[in-house]
């Protein structure tokens, strides 16, 4: 990997991390309403995978969608404004954390329904194929979502139609309060690929290099018409399921262990430092820029107006006024 790539990865991971930590803080300060799920600890996944995509490629996301949006290139200002419910937000305040989308960069939306985005990605890939425009699609979803019928139906359909789509299961070991092995009948979700005759890959989700390498295979396969892949990335949800989660269902030590020895950003820094790939000055500069960027995003959000109540009646149908 060249320096540019490494710096880009680092910046993306840090942008997600700082964004999320700031959202956490602002939520707890009562500035952000709604239900908010943080992507902290999973930054390497969205970063590596979206780095393999063009702006015109599609992704679909989940309730835990900030990281995917940032990695796909969304504007933090408009994201933060959306979280704050302001009219300058991506959805003019109509969506909030669980419904951020940016259609101009192929980000087809976070989704409040677990497994709800999987088939939207399948359809976007079908469009790519029928329109022959070279676009591929990636669907991000969790271990919990891999037990939904949409997972099964969507992958089967993509497999028989050889659609250019990659199913990325972020196995962060928890779905809300439930340990994945208590709800998912297999240890490696990737083995489910065999039910559809497609490749099932496993990556260390907290190692941006490994995710990149495995995803690269899947992306190449999709681009050359080889059809879908299922990529399981093993990661860990270090925060509560949502901000405010009392987390009575797991041991504190389990989380500490992950924070200490498996943080994707720490691991990245360790490696690039050990291997002398990036200097600490380079990293620090990124840090500073990211902190500044997030600060600006917060200020933008805070200083943006709430939507006027009349805007509630816009955007339902293409023609305004029709109900």
């Amino acid at each position: 990997m060249n320096k540019g790539t490494l710096l880009r990865w680092y910046r993306t991971m840090m942008r997600i991390r700082v964004f999320e930590e700031t959202v956490n803080e602002k939520f707890l300060a009562g500035e952000i309403p709604g239900f908010v799920h943080l992507y902290v600890g999973q930054e390497a996944v969205a970063t590596a995978i979206c780095d393999l995509l063009n702006e015109s490629d599609y992704i679909t996301s989940t309730h835990r969608g900030h990281g995917h949006a940032i990695a796909k290139g969304a504007d933090m200002k408009r994201m933060m404004a959306e979280l704050y419910g302001r009219e300058t937000g991506y959805c003019k305040g109509k969506g909030g954390s669980m419904h951020i989308a940016d259609f101009r960069i192929g980000m087809l939306g976070a989704n409040g329904v677990v497994g709800g985005g999987i088939n939207i990605a399948v359809g976007a890939a079908l469009a790519g194929k029928l329109l022959d425009n070279g676009r591929i699609a990636v669907s991000f979803f969790g271990d919990g979502a891999s037990n939904r019928g949409t997972f099964h139906e969507g992958i089967n359909m993509a497999a028989i139609w050889k659609l250019p789509v990659i199913f990325v299961c972020e196995n962060n070991q928890w779905s809300s309060t439930t340990f994945y092995r208590n709800s998912t009948a297999v240890e490696d979700i990737a083995v489910r690929a065999s039910a559809y005759g497609i490749p099932g890959l496993i990556a260390d989700g907290n190692d941006v290099f490994d995710v990149y390498e495995k995803a690269d295979e899947a992306v190449k396969r999709a681009r050359k018409g080889g059809g879908p892949s299922l990529l399981e990335v093993k990661t860990y949800r270090v925060k509560g399921h949502f901000i405010g989660d009392p987390e009575k269902y797991r041991r504190r030590e389990e989380i500490m262990e992950q924070l200490e020895n498996n943080d994707p950003i720490k691991r990245f820094v360790q490696r690039v430092t050990d291997e002398n790939l990036l200097s600490s000055e380079e990293l620090t500069q990124v840090d500073q820029e990211v902190v500044e960027e997030v600060k600006n995003a917060v200020e933008f959000a805070q200083s943006s107006p709430f939507p006027d109540s009349s805007q509630a009646y816009e955007d339902l149908f293409v023609e305004d006024g029709v109900q």
Binding site: L108, G112, I120, A124, E153, M157
Partner: protein, 328 residues
């Protein structure tokens, strides 16, 4: 004008729209090789190929979900639900994705997509193959709903639905497919959102749609002079957005209202129509608002039971007679 069946009319619409716009494609179960259970897809695969006339697995959540994704990706999907009853299988996709995407994302994307849903009672289909479910979807903001009663509107509304940049559910009654009707030559579009007054009268407004509209017509025919000039008959055609003006104008003239649909009466489209009139024109009413719809039971299999649960011409006739004589 030419006489064609309702099924052929929908085929004309598909052929014309698929020829006009290469983004239009259709997918569903068992539509390509045999042309659909009701012949409504005959020849489409030959003409447009299997990429644009796609047989799918039995995976309704994937079909509708992928339809949504395809629309966001620049296509115009027409999706066959096989039977309207199976809309339940893809309900989350309709309720939480299709109907909400444009609004909840702040108008960022259009979602041109048509769900074709063959509904209603035919050939003793029993509880899971006979339902009329439009009222359920009327209650969900974000989707237009149409329900033609004849070949002309079947063609015109399907073309309008395909051209509409919003999601549209197109309910086509299974028992209407083989019925013949006149269809105008050349380009023919029925605007979404406009009801049609097919018979004028001064004493009773009857609102209906889909197959039941033809039953109301049959009732009026049987009543002959009794209703001539008295019954004003409205074919609603579009359920959402509803042509409330046409209904209100008629009721303000006739002072009486009967609503007839095949769907269950309780919580049906008739309840909404009645409520709108009771809100906006109650002072014009000279009689109770009467609704005819299926009784609140699943549709039973055996013909005498089915006839009991589903509205029949007789019931319509006596409701019309009763209302023409009613006064409060």
């Amino acid at each position: 004008m030419r006489e064609v069946t309702f099924a052929e009319a929908t085929l004309e619409a598909m052929r014309e729209e698929m020829a006009r716009d290469s983004r239009v494609f259709i997918m569903g179960e068992d539509i390509a090789s045999q042309g659909g259970i009701f012949g409504q897809f005959k020849g489409l695969a030959d003409q447009f190929g299997l990429e644009r006339v796609r047989d799918t697995p039995i995976s309704e959540t994937a079909i509708v979900g992928a339809g949504i994704g395809a629309a966001l990706g620049g296509l115009i999907p027409v999706i066959d639900m096989h039977f309207a009853d199976f809309l339940g299988v893809a309900m989350d996709e309709v309720l939480n994705q299709m109907s909400k995407i444009r609004y909840m994302f702040g108008g960022q994307a259009n979602l041109p997509l048509v769900l074709r849903a063959p509904d209603g009672v035919t050939r003793s289909g029993a509880a899971q193959h006979s339902q009329s479910l439009e009222a359920i979807f009327m209650h969900i903001p974000g989707t237009k709903i149409v329900a033609p009663s004849n070949a002309e509107d079947a063609k015109g509304l399907l073309k309008a639905a395909i051209r509409d940049p919003n999601p549209v559910i197109y309910f086509e009654h299974k028992d209407l497919f083989r019925r013949k009707g006149q269809v105008p030559d050349g380009e023919h579009i029925t605007p979404i959102g406009k009801a049609r007054v097919t018979r004028e009268g001064d004493s009773l407004t009857v609102v209906s749609y889909s197959r039941m509209f033809t039953e109301v017509e049959a009732a009026c025919q049987q009543l002959g002079d009794e209703v001539e000039g008295k019954v004003e008959l409205i074919d609603l055609r579009t359920i959402v957005p509803m042509d409330v003006e046409t209904i209100l104008a008629s009721v303000r003239k006739t002072h009486r209202l009967l609503i007839v649909h095949e769907a269950v009466k309780r919580g049906g489209v008739g309840a909404e129509i009645s409520a709108v009139v009771a809100e906006k024109a109650v002072e014009y009413l000279d009689a109770p608002i009467v609704r005819i719809g299926a009784k609140p039971y699943p549709i039973p299999f055996s013909p005498p039971l089915e006839r009991e649960i589903v509205p029949q011409v007789d019931e319509i006739i006596s409701a019309i007679r009763g209302l023409l004589n009613a006064r409060i």
